[in-house]
């Protein structure tokens, strides 16, 4: 067993992260995360989780359709919400201190909101980019039959990052790789009715990651 491979390494700490947002815009001037779900995961065990609701000083509204999909309830969210500064103080140590940040379509979406959030807080975010594992990219890489070549068996974060970008920028039709589709494809038991709640999504994300990591040289 090669302990350099993530699938066999029980010591790495992963932060699974997912944002629920007002809309699908990548720019912070037009979009914000109103919920941040984080799960700290190590050695096939969930260590801790955080479900943060964030109250922004903004006129942005969640659209009717988005509210229905995500189960957004303004009253409930506002009653639990904390300030962006407070949420950032709880969230950023988990992102900074972990070995990998894992998310589904994280490189294509959540990362841009994270970028905006870090910039809003006057912090630099670039150092986080190369420790991102995007399960959407990994799943698509498998479906496209474009393998990740882990030269020498030791994982290079930069190589993995570039591989994921290659997959992100390769579009093929009729390839389904959303979390629900992958969960069902892998016969994963889960509370599918409550997907689009950050924490529920992340629990499925963990199960999908555990399947994916066995299929790629990682």
């Amino acid at each position: 067993m090669n302990k350099d491979l993530l699938r066999f390494n029980q010591d790495k700490v992963y932060t699974f992260c997912d944002f629920e947002t007002y809309n699908l815009c990548l720019s912070f001037c037009q979009n914000r995360p109103w919920q941040a779900g984080l799960i700290k995961y190590k050695g096939n065990k969930i260590l801790e989780s955080q479900n943060l609701y964030i109250k922004w000083d903004t006129d942005l509204k969640v659209g009717e359709e988005a509210a229905r999909i995500t189960g957004y309830n303004e009253k409930e969210v506002l009653s639990k919400a904390i300030s962006p500064e407070e949420a950032f103080a709880k969230m950023s140590p988990w992102l900074e201190e972990c070995d990998y940040i894992v998310g589904h379509n994280f490189l294509g979406f959540d990362l841009y909101l994270l970028k905006g959030y870090y910039e809003f807080m006057g912090e630099s975010y670039n150092h986080l980019v190369e420790k991102i594992i995007d399960t959407n990219c990994l799943a698509r890489g498998i479906k496209y039959d474009i393998p990740f070549r882990n030269e020498g068996g030791k994982l290079s974060n930069r190589e993995l990052c570039l591989y994921q970008y290659k997959i992100l920028n390769t579009k093929r039709r009729r390839v389904r790789s959303n979390l629900m589709a992958l969960g069902k494809e892998f016969d994963i038991e889960h509370d599918y009715d409550n997907l689009h709640d950050a924490i529920v999504d992340l629990r499925l994300n963990i199960k999908v990651w555990n399947k994916l990591k066995m299929q790629i040289n990682i």
């Binding site: 809309n23 815009c25 990548l26 720019s27 490189l107 970028k115 670039n126 970008y165």
Partner: protein
Amino acid sequence: MDIIPLFKSHYSLGRSILTLASESEPSGPDSIPQIAQENSLKEVYLVDDSMGGFLEAYSNLAKLKIKLIFGVRITVCQDLKKKNEASIQTSCKYVIFCKNKNGYKRLIKIYSEAATKGFYYEPRTDFESMKSHWSNEDLLLAAPFYDSFIFQNNFSSRGCVPDFSFCKPVLFVENNNLPYDHILKDLVEDYASASKYEKVNTQSVFYKNKEDFKAYLTFRCINNRSTLEKPQLNNMSSDTFCFENWTN
């Protein structure tokens, strides 16, 4: 280190909200010549996606005694005669600058061939066509920071093989704080030092100030037939593609 502002005008359809008019309209779009004049620029680097804006840029900048350095950002593929999906997989962007009047004439020939013989969804040239019209005295080839062969070969599944046997290109480097900028910068710098090509720091300018980003984003959404809530525009997250960012 000097950073060159690379202006793009509305002649690059759907890509810029800056015009080449002699002055900005009140509560209308900003004009590149006026921005240049207000900021005492002695020369303007204009990089458009077509030749259409050259005349207006040249005449309006000449009135202000500002030198125009004009370049076309063009798709270069392996073989312009091949028009299929595979040929798209070999294509990336380059910028061809004209250094003088002869350079302008040569650029017209390259662009005309690209827009006729090479056209496949967009004007495309190839290295053979460029070589046949090339002169290093008159033209300069540059690899833009985004969408260059370095970008495509590393961040997408494309395979773009450059042929620089007839010229010595310069490589542009930018920083717009996009998530992959620092990785791409490293790759460009590695390539530049291995090949001994010159690097030039640039700043793409599509709008005047950071506060204009929302107007720019709206414009891009209209052109993309999408909405601000769902723009479906890759990487559209940074408000730094502006002149204000260059002045800072």
